[in-house]
Symmetry: C2
Amino acid sequence: MEHLKISEAQRVIFESVNVLGTERVSLEQSLGRVLAQDMMANRDLPPYDVSAMDGFAVRSCDLATAPATLEIIEDIRAGDMPTKTLQAGQCSRIMTGAAMPRGADAVVRVEDTQEVSTDTVRIGTTVKSGTDVREKGENMRCGDVVLTKGTEITPGVIGVLATIKAVNMLVYRRPRVAILSTGNELEALHAPLDTDKIPDSNTYALLAQVQALGIEPVLLGIAPDDPAELEAYLRLGLDYDVLLVSGGTSVGVHDYVRPAIEKLGVSMKFWRVAMKPGHPLAFGVLGRITSGHARVPLLNPLPPAGEGANESLRDLHANAGAAPDSFVFGLPGNPVSSMVCFEEFVIPALRRMMGHARLYRRTLSARLAHPVKFRPGRTEFVRVQLTCDDIGYLATSTGTQSSGVLLSMARADGLLVIPSDSMGLLQGEQVTVQLLDGTSFQEYTGFKE
Amino acid sequence: MEHLKISEAQRVIFESVNVLGTERVSLEQSLGRVLAQDMMANRDLPPYDVSAMDGFAVRSCDLATAPATLEIIEDIRAGDMPTKTLQAGQCSRIMTGAAMPRGADAVVRVEDTQEVSTDTVRIGTTVKSGTDVREKGENMRCGDVVLTKGTEITPGVIGVLATIKAVNMLVYRRPRVAILSTGNELEALHAPLDTDKIPDSNTYALLAQVQALGIEPVLLGIAPDDPAELEAYLRLGLDYDVLLVSGGTSVGVHDYVRPAIEKLGVSMKFWRVAMKPGHPLAFGVLGRITSGHARVPLLNPLPPAGEGANESLRDLHANAGAAPDSFVFGLPGNPVSSMVCFEEFVIPALRRMMGHARLYRRTLSARLAHPVKFRPGRTEFVRVQLTCDDIGYLATSTGTQSSGVLLSMARADGLLVIPSDSMGLLQGEQVTVQLLDGTSFQEYTGFKE
């Protein structure tokens, strides 16, 4: 079998994985989830015409020949209902967000007025009808769809959900994920230290990578290099939506874990990807529905960037919950390779299952701080740190790129992608960096005020 | 009192807020926390010289006059200990990660060999001593400090922590945060719908903003516009490390909430910031230690970007836990303003308390999709959506920038910062955008392979 390109492998995964079913969550528990229903406004907002400023509610016709002196007939605060109707020559003192009194059609800001006495004010300017009035229903009208199915629930979205009093809402459920390490050489976290063994770091790095997506995975532990025992562990793991198996390096993922997985009915889609670190990587599907339930093919397998993205998202959501398959990722035993494969392949799969439209890591452009040697062949991911200077981001390698050195990953802010046909990168060259977890914040860089 | 610049207000907050005390968490619960201790390796890794490849462990001197045919005396898998010592003309079959046998000093990759029989192999190439051997202790040596105090715990860091078998570790504790809304016009989420009232969205938008930082805040509800009741609510809130009060717009945060807070002993540091949306914003400190416990001033109030950042971080951590004060943020009642103030001021404060070195939102450079009109005066934050094209990021306003329209925030990926002295921005102009939550991922943009 040929080595797949990364994008080809991503496409195979994208075409295999569907959005999961739905569940109801409370507003307080909804952050980061994806709406599985349209949400409608249940009231007009503002509920009535309100003032956009602190000042005076007036009849604009009274100010046609400004300056004018008006009688103040009422004080209206937010939450109060005005009780009086303005007649010619009258106005009401009004606070931001307070309801406009009957008869008024504009607001004059307090700074444009001069109080002559407690019940008269002198206004020097004319105003157009509607000035500084926010009309009833301007923000949302009762019955309007204010948020659509497929929307990721961010803090801003939660504010809108609270505004329409959505105490709970339908969202796509999270995949249930199991994590398994394999290999006789591995020592469990809680086992006594044996210097002849290798500590199992993959279980915990994968745990954290899954947690960072908002999913709490189940840890299955370490399967020994014994076909019967491995099979028993894999059988457990295939009860989950997604099983992540790392390792088997002692005999190679291909030769050992793969036959055991296939024996359990998993159809392997690929097991070689042309990337470094990362190879070998296997992906398989265990179809739960075996007859009379053809999968609906997606019209747009990879969502186009920008304009068309919503179209594609709609197709994707049409299939939600249709195919409750299990998916197996056979990840390399090498700690860095396992993490990089998770970034490129498992993240888009898990996020798609959760109904997200944005499946791939955010990228940014950076200048390379130093040259990088490269032998053309496989697309390579270089772990880099990012710093800011006056020009923009600067990317610096975190040191040795040996796939055994997990510290290089621990120090990294991102992965620099070197194309397979590159002849090497120059110092100062503009490169694309995929951001890793822990990079949502940065040092103080300030901005011009 | 003058309106403070945003950077001045940020400096006041930075100088007032210290890193909190420490607590111990399990590895499984440590993601996103900050290490409050150095972490040392408790073993050498690799624990012995290991093969970096699948192939044959050889004596390089035997291949000085390659090609040569060698006798295979043993099969060594990862986790096995070799039992035989190579003599002249001998080799052992070895897997990646397996221990090198005695006598061997190099590995020949399997693709450079030809097995003549089950116990003889023909090797066509010479190898230098050390080739494809990873030396004992190459990744880490027992006793080395592999992670330093102040390190944010990312998935890569968790992998390293598992490698050194850190079952639990000391981290900085999270601030306890309380959220309070104020205003007679507000209607609670669970209250029956009254079309004359305004739904309280700030409580939940702030809840989600705090949750996104890994903190589970306490909701105090809605305080009515009554001085005695407000005082009772504020008193409750001041038992927390941080109290977020939003609203009081009916009479203005300055006039109403501020005196009530000051009455409770809170020293107000500022209450006006020159920004839009966002004004008014108040910040106060309730000192818990009133005598004989002078605060240690920080040497570098604002951490410099880049090089010096670690120095400053060290000072910062020297003061950890020194000042268990309470902090009050008086946020605007306007939903968008409240969220923007949280972004600019509350996030850096909360992250600093948790020991983070990176306090500020990540920014990126984008092209403006359309011109933006601007009247010089206050620094303005424009809510924008980001899309990718071949050149880079494109920023598009989410529509009306009225601070009452929370939908503009719900649709936003970031905040574009317009300097106070700008005369407006041109279409195609390169601008800086602060990313918001929910932007760690993007649509498929691909990369050259």
